[in-house]
């Protein structure tokens, strides 16, 4: 791994990222009761994405990696693509009355989803 930084400079970089990650972890822990209480899920995932970006870029040395970076982006795109498809599907869920993945099945026979 080619680098022009000295040992001390690289070590300082590791500690800076650590402090950033600790601060974000603290925000993760206090957010649900301190601010944006109605948007907890979105805020938590946003903090997660920022932390993930810091880990990938600095701890996993992704900065400046073109081929590997493109591969990671492609894999993330695949996951995101299927995520979007699934979310569109689940937001237009049509089979709640007869489905075994929803809480109550009230169709003929009167079986419960929890029977399965």
């Amino acid at each position: 791994m080619a680098t022009t930084k000295t040992y001390e400079e690289e070590r300082a970089g590791y500690y800076k990222v650590l402090v950033g990650l600790l601060v974000l972890t603290a925000v993760t822990l206090i957010q649900p009761t301190m601010f944006l209480e109605n948007a907890t899920f979105g805020v938590q995932m946003l903090i997660g994405v920022i932390k993930a970006w810091m880990i990938v870029m600095y701890y996993m040395h992704m900065k400046g990696e073109k081929l590997i970076g493109a591969s990671v982006i492609f894999a993330m795109f695949l996951v995101a693509f299927f995520f979007v498809i699934v979310m569109i599907d689940v937001n237009h869920f049509q089979f709640g009355d007869v489905s075994h993945i929803t809480s109550e099945v009230t169709s003929a026979g009167g079986s419960s989803a929890t029977d399965h």
């Binding site: 791994m1 040992y7 690289e10 070590r11 590791y14 500690y15 650590l18 990650l21 600790l22 972890t25 993760t28 822990l29 957010q31 649900p32 009761t33 209480e37 907890t40 899920f41 938590q44 995932m45 903090i47 997660g48 932390k51 993930a52 880990i55 990938v56 701890y59 996993m60 081929l67 590997i68 591969s71 990671v72 894999a75 993330m76 695949l78 996951v79 299927f82 995520f83 699934v86 979310m87 689940v90 937001n91 869920f93 993945i101 929803t102 809480s103 419960s112 989803a113 929890t114 029977d115 399965h116």
Partner: protein
């Protein structure tokens, strides 16, 4: 390094010309790229699990919030910090190795192993408490159709929780084993400041384990944090 003399492998083309087959053991980028491809399969596997989780979270929003509220955020938060510091020790170990401080690198790997064991110990305490509260795979509360069954969405939540944190725990155990192997390779001088791709890739693996937890923790422990003061 090796006790055996180097014997080149020869490939012959159709015209009978001989070529020496190049060894790729010293190909740092190739080793790194290959390991990244493996890690991408891990990302897609856990990505699929998160997709399932999101699917059921959308269908059973309130049940998921209630179930999340009952998890122990103190222990989960403690483990988050433990894993975060272990990622630092692993990174510093690699840094020391690259700069020739082999002894310091080994010390950092041992520190990472210790923190990994602490993580597993806390997880064991947490799971034991959940078992004692009747919330565990196979117990009546998480089986359908019984008087003591939890609501369907909560059954799904806890099923995914034990599956994903369990799989994450398996990755931690594998990581400990790999780090012990790395120490053995360092002691045998197979991993050195000049040839450290194994150490580099294991540091990547440990960062991936950390990365997965970065999303597992808020998704399971924090989404219901506004509701509750307790935990198992």
């Amino acid at each position: 390094m090796s006790d055996h003399p180097y014997v080149p492998e020869i490939a012959v083309d159709r015209e009978g010309n001989e070529y020496e087959v190049q060894g790729w053991q010293g190909d740092f980028f190739g080793g790194k790229f290959g390991f990244w491809l493996f890690m991408l399969t891990e990302i897609m596997m856990f990505g699929a699990m998160f997709m399932v989780l999101t699917y059921y979270f959308t269908l059973h929003h309130d049940d998921f919030i209630n179930a999340s509220a009952s998890l122990n955020r103190t222990l989960g938060g403690f483990n988050t910090v433990v894993l975060l510091i272990s990622a630092l020790t692993m990174g510093l170990g690699l840094l020391k190795m690259r700069h020739g401080d082999v002894k310091g690198a080994k010390l950092m790997i041992w520190a990472t192993i210790l923190l990994a064991i602490v993580f597993l110990g806390v997880k064991a305490v947490e799971w034991t408490a959940e078992y004692n509260h009747g919330v565990f795979l196979g117990l009546p509360a998480l089986q359908g159709g019984l008087p003591e069954s939890k609501p369907f969405g909560e059954i799904m939540f806890f099923g995914m929780y034990f599956t994903m944190t369990g799989l994450h725990g398996v990755h931690i155990i594998i990581g400990i084993g790999l780090m012990l192997w790395l120490l053995k390779r360092i002691n045998a001088e197979k991993v050195t400041p000049e040839h450290y791709i194994l150490h580099f890739n294991l540091a990547l693996y440990w960062d991936l384990v950390h990365l997965i937890w970065v999303f597992v923790f808020p998704y399971y422990y924090m989404i219901g944090a506004g509701l509750s003061t307790g935990g198992h």
